[in-house]
Every structure is written in structure tokens, then in C-alpha cells.
Symmetry: C2
Subunit: 98 residues, 2 copies
């Protein structure tokens, strides 16, 4: 927790995660998903972005290990992959609500 080299490694790792969170629509999607699973179409409607763009956001977050997908018939439902990230998002909501 104090070794500078170790600290830098962590900063690099965490910065990569933050980079993925640092987009209005991706953050909105995550704020939605911490409340529970949602299908792409729902996210698309709530988010108000194009199908392609939402899908690209989700793909990026999937690759980054931030969300997980599961197919349910014709739909694909997403959830937050890591409880740590749910916790982080909830912290941010608490901190930034006025």
C-alpha cells in the first residue's frame, strides 16, 4: 500500500478501468445495471443511443471484465461482472449526490 512501484502498477490497472467508466453512456449503463440485469434493448431505450453504439459500449465493457452477458432466448441480458465495481459505482453515487 506504500511501495511506489506497486502503487504505479495498481494505478495503471485502475486507470484502465476508470477509462472505461469515463463515458456518460457507459456510466449510465452501469448505474442501471447495478440495480439488476437488463437486456440490450432496454439499455438502448433508457440510454437513448443507437443500437450499434450501445452494443459497442457493452462489448468494450465485456472485454474489460466489467460486465457479463448471458443469452436468454432472443435477448442478451447484461449484468455487472464484479461486485467491486458495483461497490465503486454505489460509492460514486453516494459521493456525488449533491
Amino acid at each position: 500500500m506504500k511501495d511506489p512501484a506497486e502503487m504505479k502498477k495498481r494505478c495503471t490497472r485502475v486507470a484502465a478501468i476508470l477509462k472505461t467508466l469515463a463515458h456518460p453512456q457507459r456510466l449510465f449503463i452501469l448505474c442501471t445495471l447495478i440495480r439488476g440485469e437488463a437486456a440490450v434493448g432496454e439499455l438502448q431505450r433508457e440510454c437513448g443511443a443507437s443500437q450499434s453504439l450501445i452494443s459497442q459500449h457493452l462489448t468494450r465493457m465485456r472485454r474489460e471484465g466489467i460486465v457479463q452477458a448471458r443469452r436468454s432466448g432472443n435477448f442478451v441480458r447484461y449484468r455487472v461482472a464484479d461486485p467491486k465495481l458495483s461497490e465503486l459505482i454505489m460509492n460514486m453515487e453516494r459521493i456525488f449526490n449533491e
Copy 2:
């Protein structure tokens, strides 16, 4: 906390902050600064980046309201501007330490 339009506004605002945090060196600088003030030169040494680059990082964070500067003789000392951000960084350290 549930109105989608309000939620989007907040996501836009918070995403802008996260974008600024989402860089290994800037994050490292902030992790250092939550422990207390530091001069540019110290940050530069601990960070191992060029003088110009550190200064650019600090300028950006200053513009974003994330850090504050004060001159102390020949040096300029920086601190975290907003306790909310200190709290966020500390939360992230807790969450991502293993």
C-alpha cells in the same frame, strides 16, 4: 436519484471527472496528494515523468477543479481541491487493494 434525465446529467458530469482521473500518472499523483500537499518537483520525482508532462497533468486537474495550487516561495505546492475526491480515491484504494 431515479429520474433518468437527472441521472444522465450526473453521469455526464461524473464521467468528465473520471476521464481526468483515468490516467496512470494522474491517478498516481492524486493517490500521493490525498496524503498531503506536495510540490511539483516531488511529484515529478515520485512519478518519474518529464517536468512538462507533470505540469500538464496538474494544469488539467486544476482546470477541472480536482486539485488546487499555492505558491510557496520558489515552489508550487498542490493539494486535492475537493474532499469528495479524496473520499473517492480512498474508496478506490480500499476496493482495489487485492
